[in-house]
Subunit: 152 residues, 2 copies
Amino acid sequence: MFPQSASPEVHPPVRLDPIGYVITDYTEPRSTPPQASEASEKPGRVVLYEQYADGLTGLKGVPYIWLLTWLHAQPEEQTTDMLVVSRSLEGTGQRTGVFATRSPHRHNRIGLSMVRVENITGNVIAFYGVDLVTGTPVLDIKPWVRGIDAPP
Amino acid sequence: MFPQSASPEVHPPVRLDPIGYVITDYTEPRSTPPQASEASEKPGRVVLYEQYADGLTGLKGVPYIWLLTWLHAQPEEQTTDMLVVSRSLEGTGQRTGVFATRSPHRHNRIGLSMVRVENITGNVIAFYGVDLVTGTPVLDIKPWVRGIDAPP
């Protein structure tokens, strides 16, 4: 029933070019809120590089968007452990598989932040909900869609 | 109020190593459901490369997860336009900014699929909800969390 065929060869690395970056009031990870939802009134901006600005066409009126980001401020040496202590469990020292957590100490440091759009002007998105250090590169932006992004 | 300082230099490309791949019944994009939610009873598997298997510790009991994938089957020449025709608007020919759509024809072809976990055995996750071609590389797995991933 679950498909069985396999393609076990290891896929080569992929290369992504950031499309822009965020501007926030935070300069280092430890003092940055761990989740956008925990800082939903904190403002930030996305600045797209000019060549991608047309990609924002039609985004006005979309209340929430995903920011897929490259968590560049996370030290690379903290991205190799498969078991991590998430911030919510720091007091206990308990370690969990990294893919069961939202810890930024992950092999591929992609951040996934749902933020609320305030307005869009040219290549700049003003948003609320900040869990990112200023200067964090943005890899992709997607609209948040209820029928796709939340269970029925 | 919205922070103004900037770091306008272009960030260099980032390199990601896939952590595994999916196995599904679909072999080419055109016949693959556009969203996992539209094929919520279709089964698929994630196979992690062995060195990442411990990262699944603690994921049992998490009902929904995000698969962040590399949409390798999308032709690269379809990733440069900032205005795209999304599948839902194909009949009209209307073009929208790519960041206002979930189109796979995007600059950084990262897929974001919310899927339902059926079970986890070693380095394999059996799941329901398929919008991916078989063999699609997986970049990251995160738990879906209501307080983070859906608006209040």
